[in-house]
Amino acid sequence: MSDLLTPGDQLTEEAGEEQRPARGGLARYLASKLAGALTSLLLVVLLGFFLFRMLPGDPVQTMTAGREVTAEQIAELRERLGLSDPLWRQFLDYLGALLQGDFGDSFRYGRPVGDIILERLGPTILLAGTATVLAILLGLWLGVRSAWRHGSRFDRTATGVALTLWSVPTFWLGLIVLMVFAVGVGPLPGLFPTGGIRSIDPPPGLLPQILDVAHHLVLPCLTMVAVIFAQYQMVMRSSLLEEMGSDYLTTARAKGLREDLVRRRHAVPNALLPSVTLIFLHLGLVVSGAIMVETVFSWPGLGYLMVNALEYPDLPLMQGTFIVLAGTVIVMNVLADVVYRFLDPRVRAA
């Protein structure tokens, strides 16, 4: 996926950044990170605000399209939406409201954007969360196995498959999965629903309803896992390879430890560090990575909401989703920094 970075390169940047000798304690470190994150958040709000103001077309015209409206009504609507104020005034109003958790009202739904986003957050977290957990488990397991026997047939196959899946556009994979497993090809009947999160008439009872959602979750989740597991695999593989020649592994073997104990107790914990950082860095990106999967499977999450808002075009809703999606990444980045500090004793001591 274009949205995610090439495995490894951001990591080396981060590592380089962290190795600078710290001039002060943890509190100071955290404060500087938080200040940076707040600046970024403010920039996101600024960007979101002014970017979407440049949209072609008049929101009032879009809203009143196909209806008989008088000039007074249009003027009143403009006044109510605050569109006739100067731009800086609009921005300050927007910022003030935002600080109180008010994202404005959606043009399309006529309801507060914050409420709509909250509603859509659940499905996105369900989809992205399940997919991430599965992708991490699969990726780390494959990465460890292929690094431990690097150059073997297993390693070559696993790396080849990972690189190929990495090159596949998410939405295309989704379309193929949709055609094969939801519509059915040849003798194969459609096994899974084609979209949405639940059936039109959900079965009664809690358990059947949960199963119904799970049934809908299978295909989008599968698609997402297939696209994102490769990066975890590649990072795990290369960081374990870094450790492979280390002296402490020779020592462990000389002690007479069995090979899989050497791997499990000594090599993997050390190699896990960069992967954990990467996982946290990507947690934020995963939410926006779900955009295409949600669009193909009409999964009622944040990404689908954003794409729908683009088509309308629903200005406050677009701003809201943009700020939330970008904000998630920024918050997760701060978390990644903190986690990294706690996990790596060398950085903690510095």
């Binding site: 295309w172 519509v183 990444v329």
Partner: protein, 300 residues
């Protein structure tokens, strides 16, 4: 070998030697070589499309009599689309726009990235701090979200897509170039050059750029891969120019015309496989180049 007389000739001889060693080490990697071969084939086919195929068959008016959404047959090897056009022909021509947008967007992003990277590393001071902050900010922004936002705001078209991808993809290059510039600048010959009175322009053009460019080149190859995917994604969302055939817009039309529910696999597979081939080849070449430039990766 004749002994060269001028410094210029000496330089070129040295560069030629380095190039030959690099090529030998690139050639030793089977994956990279295969990627290069596939890539050259696709590029050649895309360039020669107007010579080898009949462009008039891309117009809907000329294909009205053909069957719509027909499966592969002797006449249409890869079947037809909803307008009776040959999918093979569409895929062939789609390669042109997809490759062109991918390359142009990458050039733009690599240009911005290299510029920002070198300036922020070379000049230092507040300018460097601001640029670094700016880069970090763009690095964490989800680029797909930003690209979608940009391409909605600007008027629809191929140029907009190039701009949207180029303006969102540069921060990785900038960080990479910055790091490399800092390494190059620490070398003694830069100090010597400064002592001899070289200005910023001379330093950057004659000493820093040659040291940074090989890495930028490897990075570019990898960046094209993401740009091609980004192009198809944005076109699929309907943000591209609807009159230009690209692999992404083909998939959009396939979805809109119900190819998925009709099981028209011949319409879905070719453009997607085209993207996968191009992206995978660029990735393999890029990894190969990285290995050539960074001996630490060898044997992986």
């Amino acid at each position: 070998m004749t002994t060269p007389t001028s410094t210029r000739a000496l330089t070129w001889q040295r560069r030629g030697r380095a190039l030959r060693t690099g090529w030998r080490s690139f050639r030793a990697q089977r994956g990279a070589l295969a990627g290069l071969a596939v890539l050259l084939t696709i590029v050649a086919l895309a360039v020669l499309a107007p010579v080898l195929t009949d462009e008039s068959q891309l117009g809907i008016i000329n294909t009205m009599s053909n069957p719509a959404l027909a499966p592969p047959s002797g006449e249409f090897w890869l079947g037809t689309d909803e307008n009776g056009r040959s999918v093979l022909l569409l895929t062939w021509w789609g390669a042109r726009v997809s490759l062109l947008v991918g390359l142009a967007a990458t050039l733009l992003s690599v240009f911005i990235g290299t510029f920002v990277g070198i300036v922020s590393a070379h000049f230092g001071g507040w300018l460097s701090a601001v640029l670094l902050r700016f880069t970090d900010f763009f690095l964490v922004l989800p680029s797909l979200v930003l690209a979608i936002a940009l391409s909605t705001v600007l008027s629809r078209g191929v140029g907009t897509i190039v701009l949207a991808i180029g303006l969102t993809a540069w921060p990785t290059t900038a960080r990479l170039v910055r790091a490399q510039t800092l390494t190059v600048q620490a070398r003694p010959y830069i100090e010597r050059s400064t002592a001899l009175g070289a200005g910023h322009g001379h330093l950057i053009a004659k000493h820093i750029l040659p040291g940074v460019l090989p890495l930028v080149f490897a990075n570019t190859t990898l960046a094209v891969a993401s740009a091609v995917i980004a192009e198809s994604t944005l076109s699929f969302l309907g943000l591209g120019d609807p009159t230009q055939i690209s692999w992404g817009s083909m998939l959009k039309f396939a979805m809109d015309s119900g190819a998925v529910t009709n099981g028209a696999w011949w319409y879905l597979l070719p453009p997607g496989l085209g993207i996968v081939c191009v992206v995978l080849s660029f990735t393999l070449c890029g990894r190969g180049l990285e290995t050539v430039l960074n001996p630490r990766l060898r044997g992986r």
